[in-house]
């Protein structure tokens, strides 16, 4: 487009300029000289300005001056194009390029805050770790928290509002909303429904109340496909109203769990694992854990005694337990000898340690049975010590506020507008509800979410949601403590936060990002409000907002309903350990994270017990049809050692139909068989289809084949066997030649296998810290996973009821490293501090190092795996090279962290502090199973662990002298003998 210029100035005319004349002001020589031409030009080019030229006036001029000043400033605001980016002329205070800054905030998981410290480089978050000051995480994390940065940078995230699938704008939505609001006002909110996931956010709660105030007939529904709903029902059964139980596992001598996966994935994992592990390992009195469960879980894997028990028989166990405690109506049923043995021991231990024991009952049991736990714990005097109860942390929906109520209303045509906020019911609602069918009957449908997912496709409006790392907001952690979310990066796309959208529903045209949250907390933060606000943001939580014990007395549980006897299979529905209910499905790093027990990646399986596999002639990867009533799913079978004989386990989170290129089209959708919300056990049948399906597992053998990779000690034999003195012609290494004598520090790591629960947090943290790339299912099937740190899982004993062991295996950093000897180009060398280093830019890819490595911890870039999108590039840690094709890589003991600590110490002219360097895996580990440090400092944690009687070296007979060593696991069962 060519712009027309004003008519040219004739210099001769300038001479005719005399005084300012009657008009006084002129805005350009052109105007002064040529009245007619300039006026015509201005009328044509800027019609709005034409009257002003005619009659400027003093006020007009001043207004214009002010406006132009303002507009000049505004030009600096708004979206700037990256290709016009300019360097700082003056560096902002406190910002040094390349030096990370840390912010306390939180990411959300099932509505709960996971308090984090976000590490940002030059304005982009690259790593999240648990907030060390927060009692829930104490600095540790879980795989979901670690991978949240990949969620932020997910290239498939929704980037702009869409109306009927076509790109639109927020302005257009605001206009539509304005007309909708008129409609709602006219009808008192009749037919207006809001659907959210689980909510703990005080601000959202306040906004929903305000919405309800403005539109009294409006109704707010909440739906979390997994969530705490079942637990709340159990608590309601026990106390007459919902309550949140809080477990003090660190105070327990004995824990008895009926299918409650205390240590398994979920918002509670980090807290529970930390508390449990404080009573394992080197502690004087170890906690005993008795677990009866139908599907193998992390809790069962680390249990002292574990009883595989079908869900149908778990009720019997509970009933027998109730009978033991002489609860009226609870009659002792027949039990198998194994069940009887387990139960007697569990009840015996519960009673022996009364006041320091804990009974928990998982959500797969009927709420009637769950009500038993608070009663028994009360009877034993555990209430108040090992468990206490508070008012619910999350906003528990009433009977009419559930998804089931909403779908019923939708079916009845009672819903006029449905606003779905950060919730994906079109995928995650049980198929039995036919949510998608009913949704079509709603005239006005609005969806806000991170992804244009299954639900978004069924709504007229889809609004892109800001990631919690881009938002001001708030939420409560599982202890009830509120965290104010602060953005650590400006929204990457044209998105609004959940709280901004709620404000828009309330009628604010263009809500400020922090307005709603500030309103909530104004006057509640102590001190003057700005200091309190800053303090809350700085700390990452609002002190004093923890849940308080509620005075609740457990009622005598009513007699449970008879579950009847059926020879149908028990089909257990569970969230997936790496993608949960599908909400993390588009994060490739989580898809590629091996499932803790099966080590399967990129798929969900139909886990069958060895007994079912035998009776149906199944082997791994055989396609099966699981039928419950008139609903079926098809999936690949997987024989799960230790699964109860009549149990089939399905996991949610797969079979996505939309929501991103990574998530869509893999696995089967277990929601398709779910009979109703929060119904986790159904009866059904299983049949082989004859087809097979390729599964990608990162570990194909789970038996130790007679070797002692994982060792055990017991009370009777508390020390690991000392290695046999190897007879050799050659003299042993001279201590003076040892590398640890070459430098001031000798780095080493000791992993306590008694504390490891196999949760994968270390792997996820390692991936993020070290830019470990994903390779995809095809490459995993070829055995080319890239994980620098793997957690091996081994089963010992009978397949029906094995003992499960976890063993994290990072690089051993051998002092006599076979790999270093093999490399022809010096690409893998030893540092004076004993780190086995890999020099990527020297590596030519002979792979000799990996051939020679007895631990097979090295990983090779078979192709160029750097195929992540442009957005995910920002997630890469700038301190670590992103490896290219043809290069070997492996665990470096987070050498960048060691060097950073050295630099900091050198700058301050001091020595490294004790335990100053923390590796990413160690930092993430919720159980302190991993300890890293200086072996030369006899007071360091790692040196202390090395002196433990449980200390042993993996494959010590090879003489590689690893720096990474292990502490043997306690065998609690052997204590008896």
């Amino acid at each position: 487009m060519t712009r027309r210029s004003p008519p040219p100035v004739d210099p001769a005319r300038l001479r005719s300029i005399r005084a300012c004349g009657s008009r006084g002001f002129w805005s350009g020589l052109e105007e002064l000289i040529d009245e007619g031409g300039f006026r015509r030009w201005i009328a044509g080019e800027c019609p709005a300005a034409a009257p002003f030229v005619d009659d400027p006036g003093r006020r007009q001029v001043l207004k214009l001056l002010g406006a132009s000043l303002l507009l000049g400033g505004l030009a600096g605001c708004g979206e700037s194009r990256s290709d016009q980016a300019l360097p700082y002329v003056n560096q902002p205070d406190g910002l040094v390029p390349g030096v990370p800054r840390h912010y306390a905030t939180a990411v959300l998981f099932g509505g709960h805050a996971q308090p984090v410290i976000a590490t940002t480089y030059d304005g982009r978050p690259v790593k999240l770790d648990g907030n060390p000051d927060h009692p829930v995480t104490r600095g540790s994390s879980d795989p979901f928290m670690q991978s949240a940065v990949f969620d932020l940078y997910d290239p498939d995230r929704s980037q702009l509002p869409r109306r009927d699938g076509a790109p639109s704008t927020w302005d257009a939505f605001a206009r539509d909303l304005a007309s909708l609001r008129i409609r709602w006002r006219d009808r008192q909110g009749e037919g207006l429904r809001v659907l959210t996931g689980a909510v703990t956010s005080p601000t959202l709660l306040r906004q929903m109340q305000a919405l309800s105030g403005a539109f009294p007939q409006m109704r707010w529904h909440r739906f979390d496909p997994v969530g705490m709903a079942r637990q709340m029902q159990g608590m309601a059964m026990a106390f007459g109203r919902p309550a949140t139980p809080h477990y003090n596992l660190e105070r327990c001598d004995v824990i008895v769990s009926l299918s409650h996966d205390l240590l398994g994935p979920g918002p509670h994992q980090v807290t529970h694992a930390g508390a449990w592990s404080s009573r394992r390992g080197e502690t004087a009195s170890r906690v005993l854990l008795h677990v009866a469960e139908s599907v193998p879980s992390l809790t069962g894997a680390v249990a002292s005694t574990r009883l595989p028990c079908d869900p149908s028989r778990l009720g019997r166990l509970a009933r027998a337990m109730g009978a033991t405690f002489e609860i009226p109506g609870w009659t002792a049923p027949d039990l198998t000898p194994a069940e009887r043995r387990w139960l007697d021991r569990a009840i015996g231990d519960l009673r022996t340690h009364a006041g320091r024991s804990l009974l928990t009952i998982g959500p797969c049991l009927d709420p009637h049975f769950q009500a038993l736990a608070p009663f028994v714990n009360g009877q034993l005097g555990n209430a108040g010590t090992t468990v206490w109860y508070s008012e619910p942390i999350e906003a528990v929906p009433g009977e009419s506020e559930t998804l089931a109520a909403l779908t019923a209303d939708m079916a009845a045509g009672a819903v006029d507008t449905l606003v779905i906020l950060d919730c994906n019911p079109a995928y995650a609602a049980p198929a039995a509800l036919e949510f998608a069918v009913q949704l079509a009957k709603v005239p006005h449908r609005v969806h806000a979410g991170l992804h244009a997912d299954e639900t978004a496709r069924l709504c007229q409006w889809h609004l892109p949601l800001s990631h919690p790392l881009e938002s001001f907001g708030d939420a409560r952690a599982i202890d009830g403590q509120a965290t104010i979310l602060q953005p650590v990066v400006a929204p990457l796309y044209a998105s609004h936060s959940l709280w901004q959208i709620a404000d828009m529903l309330l009628g604010t045209a263009d809500p400020a990002p922090d307005a709603a949250v500030r309103d909530t907390w104004r006057g509640r933060l102590g001190g003057d409000s700005e200091t309190g606000w800053s303090r809350a943001l700085h700390d990452g939580f609002v002190a004093g907002t923890q849940a308080q014990p509620a005075t609740l007395a457990a009622r005598t549980p009513a007699a449970p309903p008879d579950e009847g006897v059926s020879d149908a299979l028990n089909i257990v529905l569970q969230p997936d350990p790496t993608v949960w209910d599908g909400r993390f499905g588009n994060i490739a790093w989580l898809q590629e994270l091996p499932k803790p027990l099966s080590k399967i990646t990129w798929d969900n399986v139909v886990a069958v017990s060895p007994a079912i596999a035998a009776s149906h002639g199944l082997s791994n990867g055989d396609m099966v049809t699981v039928t419950a009533g008139d609903r079926t799913v098809h999936g690949p079978a997987w024989i799960a050692a230790g699964q109860a004989p009549g149990t089939v386990a399905l996991t949610f989170g797969y079979g996505r139909r939309a929501g991103g290129d990574v998530a869509a089209g893999i696995g089967y959708d277990a929601f398709a068989i779910q009979p109703g919300p929060h119904s986790f056990v159904v009866r059904g049948t299983l049949a082989r289809t004859g087809a097979t399906y390729p599964l990608a597992s990162s570990q194909s053998h789970h038996r130790m084949e007679g070797f002692d990779f994982v060792r055990e000690v017991s009370a009777a034999h508390p020390r690991t066997a000392l290695p046999k003195a190897a007879e050799s012609l050659y003299p042993d290494w001279n201590a003076g030649d040892m590398p640890e004598n070459a430098a001031d520090h000798a780095w080493g790591m000791v992993i306590d296998l008694d504390q490891c629960i196999g949760c994968n947090a270390c792997i996820a943290a390692c991936n993020v810290e070290n830019n470990v790339l994903t390779v995809g299912k095809d490459q995993i099937m070829r055995g080319r996973e890239m994980l620098w740190l793997r957690v091996d899982s081994y089963d010992a004993g009978e397949a029906d009821s094995p003992k499960t062991f976890f063993q994290p295996v990072p690089c051993m950093h051998c002092e006599k490293a076979p790999c270093e000897m093999g490399c022809p180009v010096h690409a893998t060398v030893h540092s004076p501090e004993g780190v086995n280093q890999q020099i990527y830019n020297r590596c030519i890819g002979t792979r000799t190092c990996s051939s020679y490595c007895p631990y097979k911890v090295r990983r090779f870039n078979w192709y160029d795996y750097r195929h992540f999108g442009e957005a995910a590039r920002a997630a890469m840690n700038p301190e670590v090279t992103v490896r290219s094709r043809g290069v070997m890589e492996k665990c470096t003991y987070c050498t960048q962290r060691i060097e950073t600590a050295h630099v900091a110490a050198d700058k301050e002219n001091r020595d490294l502090r004790r335990d100053e360097v923390v590796t990413a895996c160690q930092q993430a580990c919720p159980t302190t199973a991993i300890v890293f440090g200086d072996l030369k400092d006899s007071g360091s944690a790692v040196a202390q662990r090395r002196r433990s009687g449980r200390h042993y070296v993996l494959l010590e007979e090879l003489g590689t002298r690893p720096r990474t060593t292990y502490l043997a696991r306690w065998n609690d069962a052997e204590d008896d003998t």
């Binding site: 055995g783 490399c823 030519i844 000799t848 160029d864 043809g886």
Partner: protein, 450 residues
């Protein structure tokens, strides 16, 4: 062998006949059609190598079936196989020369030629194998700006030196042995082009006594260099495995085991070529049944020695009682790759048993079949040693498996093309059998015989 009682060459031929018969082959090539067909097929294989290498270099070694734990397979195993084949040429030429076994004079030329091109095939594999092949020169001690040297403790580094030395010595030895014959061909050439071609290559050889004296010194000196090289090169190749800690690799028996295996496979291929050439060019009078008889005996002997290596490996594992060694042994017997172990046993050791009988040794078809079987068997053995040790090493959790892909096979087939094309060119352009050395046998026989 070529003693008076039993001359290895039929005595009823004159020197001129021999020269005429052999020097005529390049000048008036007899079996053009067969040669052309063979050349076309070989060129197609070579083309396949070019295509495979291009794909390999542009996308990465991921196109092969490799993984962790089996991160070495076809590239290394074929490298060892080709190099082993090459060794027979040197052994026949150099060792038997030094030992005064004149019968080798009928075989040494094409055996050396075979060595040369087999080493070339072996030599390209270490480069194809690299993750970043464009940096292969980092294995040489070139004056790098960062003053980084190669890592001399690495068996791979020794490999570079060993193979390059071997290639150099083999080439020079082959060429020096060729000079008198090149002169003979020059003297018989009629066309100007051939005259210049052979004239330049024959380095002005006139056959003077001084020439012969110098030639003999140089030739025997190089032979004395080449023989220990065979042993050192393949011992070194075996250290590529033995230096690792892996069960099934970490064994002191490896160097002799590998050298003998190399000679075994090499003699097999020499037999195959001898039988093919003798048939093709009607050289039964020069490569006689007696030659085949000797080759058969050597094959049997080296085969049995290699079998001893097998037995000792088993003994070694059982005697050590080391659980990982035992586990690898059992895995070789009954595991996923048992076919490669038992295949190696059958093709290598069962197949050579007929060679105890003179009739089998002197029957070209039978010897050819047995030799082919040995070449296959030794290929399986190298595969077995590599893959069975790697796929299940120490930690059960890292066990895996390996299946070759199309590109694994295509590169291998391509190297057969890389071997055959220059070999076919050599028999087309150069005397396939040493003319003057053959005449030497005749002379010796006539001197002693009548």
């Amino acid at each position: 062998m070529s003693d008076a009682a039993h001359p290895i060459l039929p005595p009823d031929q004159s020197y001129a006949d021999v020269t005429e018969q052999l020097a005529r082959i390049p000048l008036r090539f007899p079996t053009r059609r067969i040669w052309l067909v063979a050349m076309l097929l070989s060129s197609a294989l070579l083309g396949l190598l070019v295509v495979s290498a291009t794909v390999l270099f542009t996308t990465g070694v991921g196109i092969w079936g490799l993984n962790i734990p089996v991160n070495w397979a076809f590239a290394i195993h074929n490298y060892v196989w080709w190099l082993g084949i090459g060794h027979a040429g040197t052994l026949i030429s150099a060792l038997l020369l030094l030992l005064g076994q004149e019968w080798r004079n009928s075989l040494n030329r094409f055996a050396e030629t075979m060595t040369l091109f087999a080493v070339v095939c072996a030599g390209i594999y270490p480069i194809l194998h690299l993750g970043r092949p464009w940096f292969f020169y980092w294995m040489f001690p070139y004056p790098a700006t960062m003053d980084v040297w190669p890592q001399f403790r690495s068996p791979l580094e020794w490999d570079i030196w060993a193979v390059l030395t071997y290639l150099t010595v083999s080439t020079v030895f082959w060429y020096i042995g060729l000079v008198p014959d090149l002169a003979a061909a020059r003297d018989r050439a009629r066309r100007r082009g051939w005259q210049v071609f052979f004239g330049v290559l024959s380095l002005g050889w006139r056959g003077s006594a001084a020439h012969w004296m110098r030639w003999n010194q140089a030739y025997r000196l190089l032979a004395a260099l080449a023989v220990p090289l065979v042993v050192s090169v393949h011992s070194e190749v075996s250290l590529l495995f033995a230096a690792g800690t892996l069960p099934g690799w970490h064994s002191t028996v490896f160097p002799p085991y590998f050298v003998l295996g190399a000679a075994f496979s090499g003699f097999a291929v020499v037999s195959m070529i001898a039988i093919a050439l003798r048939k093709l060019f009607r050289l039964q009078n020069l490569v006689t049944d007696d030659h085949l008889d000797i080759l058969g005996k050597v094959l049997l002997a080296t085969g049995l020695m290699t079998a001893y290596g097998y037995v000792f490996e088993v003994f070694d594992a059982l005697y050590s009682g080391e659980p990982h060694e035992l586990q690898t042994l059992i895995d070789r017997f009954v595991g996923q790759y048992a076919w490669s172990y038992w295949g190696a046993v059958v093709f290598n050791f069962v197949a050579i048993q007929p060679l105890w009988w003179r009739a089998a040794r002197r029957n070209p078809a039978a010897l050819f079949a047995i030799s082919t079987s040995v070449a296959v068997g030794m290929w399986l053995e190298r595969y077995m040693i590599l893959v069975t040790s790697l796929h299940r090493d120490f930690l059960v959790s890292s066990w895996g498996s390996y299946t070759p892909t199309f590109w694994d096979w295509s590169v291998y087939a391509g190297t057969i093309g890389l071997f055959l094309v220059p070999f076919l060119l050599a028999i087309r352009l150069l005397p396939v059998i040493s003319i003057f050395e053959t005449k030497e046998i005749l002379y010796e026989e006539q001197l002693h015989g009548r």
